[in-house]
């Protein structure tokens, strides 16, 4: 709220502020770091861990993938080795088909590559079932849409006990989840612990739904740690106010000097036809 108010004040007072795109040399010659992106879910789709190196910050570049690493995921009873598939791009390590999730278990991820070991832990917290899923017309006039546009809503009973957090996203079936992570939203249970959380709007107004669309709703239990991780990312990518605190590295739960994050999520996927 403070930032919002201050931004308004700044806009009013500094209407003469000038902005221009500049070229900047950020090629600091720093050592590349290993990036671990591991978001394992209970959804019925291939589950994998992505390994690559960090990139130069400015400009476009394809991540340099890390191939030939040893990747092992363990729950409280069993170890699973993740392997690259010849048919898939390098750097993606898939869980075996016999993998089954144990909700509530503490999972460990162990990666070995070029003599270095990277490890992480995360608990798979149970995901509540979604109830009362519906859509409604967006009253606000949205630019670029002449016809009625719709948003979706969900409700759920939050798990008792604090430390839970949820990520939810909706998207047209057959399309992508969205162009970025922040097409979805997240929240923790600090103020809703154990309560029935009702009529939560999911739709990003930049991507509303149209009559007849089949909408997919993905709902993940991510845990408070992951919500903090997403909060960090949000703080860093939406910078630009003079009142922002100093830039800070997004936290990671990977040891050994790698960046990225390891999440295991119990998840729900629902479909809704806009009628």
């Amino acid at each position: 709220m403070k930032k919002y108010i201050l931004s308004l004040i700044v806009i009013v007072s500094l209407s003469s502020c000038f902005k221009e795109r500049i070229e900047l040399d950020l090629n600091t010659g720093e050592n590349k770091k290993v990036v671990v992106l591991a978001w394992i879910t209970t959804l019925d789709e291939p589950q994998f861990v992505d390994l690559s190196y960090t990139l130069n910050y400015l400009g476009k570049a394809e991540p340099e993938k890390i191939s030939g690493a040893s990747v092992v995921l363990s729950d409280e009873t069993q170890n699973y080795t993740l392997l690259e598939k010849p048919s898939e791009e390098k750097g993606k390590y898939f869980l075996p088909d016999n993998w089954t999730a144990n909700v509530g278990d503490n999972y460990k991820l162990k990666i070995n590559f070029e003599g270095e070991e990277y490890t992480s832990e995360h608990q798979m917290r149970p995901c509540p079932d979604l109830v009362n899923i519906y859509s409604a017309v967006i009253e606000e006039e949205l630019e670029g849409f002449e016809e009625d546009v719709y948003e979706t809503f969900i409700s759920f009973l939050e798990n008792p006990g604090t430390g839970d957090a949820y990520y939810a996203v909706d998207y047209k079936k057959g399309g992508l989840q969205g162009d970025t992570l922040f097409n979805g939203g997240y929240d923790d249970d600090q103020f809703i612990d154990g309560l029935f959380f009702e009529d939560i709007g999911l739709t990003d107004y930049d991507r509303p739904h149209l009559l007849g669309d089949t909408v997919v709703i993905d709902f993940y239990s991510i845990g408070l740690e992951t919500a903090n991780f997403l909060q960090d990312i949000e703080s860093e990518i939406f910078r630009g106010s003079p009142f922002d605190p100093p830039p800070t590295n997004v936290r990671t739960n990977i040891t050994g000097g790698a960046v990225g994050y390891f999440i295991v999520s119990d998840a729900r996927r629902e479909e809704l036809v806009i009628e």
Partner: protein, 784 residues
């Protein structure tokens, strides 16, 4: 080292008092004032050439000079004023008030008497890192939007930095902005700016004098680590009714002053801005509109002061300041207000010609208020800081070689960090109130300015400061990892206390008539700090106190300097080298939550700080050409637990090279021109050194905090002043000032941010923000 220094100071103090007891002499004392306005004149030299002895007036214009019985010629001398001489027969104590007239000759031609005694203050005093800036000099500096600003003048001095362009915050010798004590008639101003820092809180029409102490801070000042900016309001013209004012591009100001009776006077000054109106018009011309065009955004302030002299030995002063910024965005349902209010009451009492005293009571308040409302609901959010203080100061003029100062002060801090109330249909439905914090800060000080030989002068003192946290209050116990492990509820009374001995020593060795060497050592302690973590201070940055978890911050500063005057004291030169060590330096942890946080202690991290540098200043106050050239090379770094992998990092105001040129030239009596040029290294910043892509988003990776720099900053401002000749022989005098800020239209970087491309959020580009382009303005000033 500290113990030895304190022991030596105590011995010297005892010796000076003992020596005083040996002598029996007579004292010449009195007041020195401006003949035209009756204003007290500060730091005027009163000198007895036959004895080679002299003294200077204090901030109330009082002087005292004790000599052997005899007849003396006394010379009273002050820069910009004609010398006054008189003869006095000292066969008893004599009171002699003196009025000095402005020296018209020196204001025009370059004529300065070779024996102008006051002019060599630069050489003779023990002052180091101290600069007195006269309002006349400030008024000649080209100003942003034509508005004369004393803080912006201060920023042009060596050793003083600003972070953002146009901002009124300042950073002295590696210290944070909250380490500057800004005093207006002895009352601290907690937010010394308007309009988010673009203008200072001080109306130039109301200000008589200001002095900045960057080092060698006298023992009677305390409570901040890095500097004291001591600002005095005008007392009010005691000779006749007078008024002055100006109309500029964004604000209008007016001051009136007059005698009350023969023994008193008053001054009232006010300002009001109309930037919102100008900005709207400007946007209209540019064909640009914002959602906030219906909003109001303005500030105003009011200064008032009065004084009354009951007799030669008793005089009272009452002064006050009230300033407010208002942002009213009714269409958005938002209203924000913030501002300072102060009141000071002072009583000067002269116990004897050798003993001057001043009793001060002041009140200072800073608060903000935010209201967000729609048709049915409303949220009110407020915060307040209140401070009351009583201070008693004595000046004992023991003999021509010793001037003893001593006194005590007690400050009551009362902080209400924040309260939020929400209403629905005018009925309060919920509230959140952070606990009030209270503390008493006290100090006792004693210091002596002692002339040991004609060459050697010492100023040494001790300040014993203390802080008492007062309950009822809740505090949080932390472990060594800064984790809160317990909550402690303190009942009424003192539950925590700190004491600090702060030695202050200055030494001057006069090499010859025109040059001297100086050295100083200072310890300062600070018990209150500001929760500000961005590059720019905001009105919502609250202050909070030292507690069991936050030990008082300490700074030890060592400095040596060479001082030289040229051309019969017309040109002053100084070179100072300093090293400053900060103990219990603080910074905020990564992702600190400073807003509405009951446990701010937990957001701080403690460590060390260091700053060092060399400052060069060449200054000319008289003649047709006046101004100064300043250059600083400095470093300011911190090493704080959990931040930057606990390695040293640049503080946000570390700008190693800093150059400023300030010049004003009187072409004719009618026309004068002024200009400034500033250059400095870019502010430290943190750039990403890499990224990874997560679900279409570029997640930045940073290496060293403040390891990169914005591009170098430089700017030139010019002004032309027209003083119509018809003014010359009449009381009414007017003036037109045409000024151009940023003459060559350089877009200095205020910040560099990184934005995702619209077509692909995983790709990023750098965007530079600049605040000001070329800004011309015209101001009309008048006085009578």
């Amino acid at each position: 080292m500290l113990k030895k220094t304190i022991t030596m100071i105590c011995m010297l103090l005892c010796l000076s008092i003992y020596l005083h007891a040996q002598s029996e002499k007579f004292t010449l004392s009195g007041q020195v004032r401006d003949a035209g306005t009756g204003e007290d004149l500060i730091s005027v030299t009163i000198f007895a050439p036959a004895m080679g002895s002299g003294n200077v007036t204090n901030i109330y214009g009082f002087y005292s000079l004790t000599l052997d019985a005899g007849t003396y010629e006394i010379v009273v001398s002050y820069v910009g004023y004609a010398d006054t001489k008189f003869t006095v027969v000292l066969d008893k104590d004599v009171v002699k008030n003196v009025e000095l007239s402005e020296d018209i000759a020196t204001l025009g031609e370059v004529v300065v008497s070779a024996d102008k005694l006051n002019a060599d203050e630069n050489i003779a005093s023990t002052d180091m890192g101290a600069v007195r800036v006269k309002m006349e000099a400030v008024q000649k500096i080209p100003a942003l939007l034509g508005e004369v600003d004393i803080i912006k003048a201060i920023q042009l001095l060596p050793g003083v930095k600003t972070v953002g362009e146009g901002g009124s915050g300042f950073y002295v010798r590696g210290g944070n902005a909250d380490q500057n004590l800004v005093l207006l008639d002895e009352a601290p101003i907690y937010n010394a700016s308007h309009l988010l820092g673009f203008f200072s809180a001080f109306n130039p029409e109301a200000i008589k004098d200001m002095k900045l102490y960057k080092g060698a801070i006298p023992a009677h000042f305390g409570g901040r680590l890095s500097s004291v900016l001591d600002i005095h309001m005008k007392e009010g013209n005691s000779k006749r009714f007078a008024a002055s004012g100006g109309i500029g591009s964004i604000m209008t100001r007016l001051a009136v002053e007059a005698p009350i009776t023969e023994n008193g006077s008053f001054m009232v000054a006010a300002r009001r801005s109309y930037l919102d109106v100008v900005a709207k018009g400007f946007n209209k011309i540019r064909g640009k509109s914002t959602d906030f065009d219906d909003g109001k955004f303005y500030f105003y302030d009011l200064n008032a002061k009065t004084n009354y002299r009951f007799n030669n030995n008793n005089r009272i002063f009452a002064s006050g300041y009230f300033g407010r910024d208002v942002v009213d965005l009714s269409a958005e349902g938002i209203k924000v207000e913030w501002g300072n209010a102060t009141g000071t009451f002072r009583w000067n009492h002269i116990f004897s010609p050798k003993l001057f005293s001043n009793l001060t009571y002041y009140y200072s308040n800073y608060d903000y208020f935010l209201k967000i409302e729609d048709l049915a609901s409303e949220i009110d959010w407020s915060s307040k800081l209140k401070e009351h203080s009583v201070k008693l100061d004595f000046g004992a003029y023991l003999n021509p070689n010793n001037t003893l100062s001593f006194g005590l002060q007690s400050i009551s801090h009362d902080l209400s960090p924040g309260e939020i109330k929400s209403f629905e249909n005018d009925k309060e439905i919920s509230s959140l109130s952070l606990e009030n914090k209270k503390a008493i800060e006290s100090a006792f000080y004693v210091s002596n300015a002692q002339k040991l030989t004609d060459q050697l002068k010492l100023e040494y003192g001790l300040r014993l400061s203390s802080l008492y946290n007062v309950g009822p209050q809740k505090t949080y116990k932390q472990n060594d990892k800064y984790e809160t492990i317990d909550t402690i509820t303190h009942s009424k009374g003192i539950f925590n206390e700190y004491y600090n001995l702060e030695p202050r020593v200055g030494l001057r060795y006069k090499l010859n008539k025109s040059s001297s060497l100086k050295a100083s050592y200072n310890r300062t302690a600070q018990y209150i700090l500001q929760a500000s973590n961005g590059n720019t201070a905001t009105p919502f940055d609250i202050w909070f106190l030292s507690t069991e978890n936050i030990k008082p911050q300490l700074a030890d500063q060592f400095a040596v300097g060479f001082f030289k005057n040229f051309k019969d004291n017309q040109i002053e030169f100084s070179a100072e080298v300093y090293y400053k060590k900060f103990t219990n330096a603080v910074d905020f942890k990564e992702r600190a939550q400073l807003l509405l946080n009951e446990n701010l202690d937990g957001e701080l991290r403690i460590g060390d700080g260091r700053a060092y540098g060399i400052e060069l200043l060449m200054k000319k106050d008289e003649g047709k050409l006046t101004g100064w050239i300043g250059y600083t090379y400095s470093k300011s770094e911190k090493k704080i637990e959990t931040i930057n992998n606990e390695n040293w990092y640049n503080s946000k105001y570390d700008k190693p090279h800093d150059f400023s040129l300030v010049a004003n030239y009187e072409l004719t009596k009618k026309w004068s021109v002024g200009g400034i040029f500033v250059y400095s290294s870019g502010s430290p910043t943190t750039y990403p050194t890499g990224k990874y892509i997560l679900n279409g988003i570029a997640v930045p990776i940073y290496s060293e905090r403040n390891g990169a720099r914005l591009p170098d900053f430089h700017r030139m401002d010019l002004s032309v002043t027209l003083n119509p000749l018809k003014n010359e022989n009449r009381r009414f005098k007017s003036q037109w000032v045409l000024s151009v800020y940023n003459v060559y239209n350089r877009k200095n970087a205020f910040s560099i941010d990184f934005k995702p491309e619209d077509f692909d959020k995983s790709q990023t580009y750098a965007e530079k923000s600049s605040v000001f382009s070329i800004v011309p303005s015209i101001t009309y000033n008048a006085k009578f």
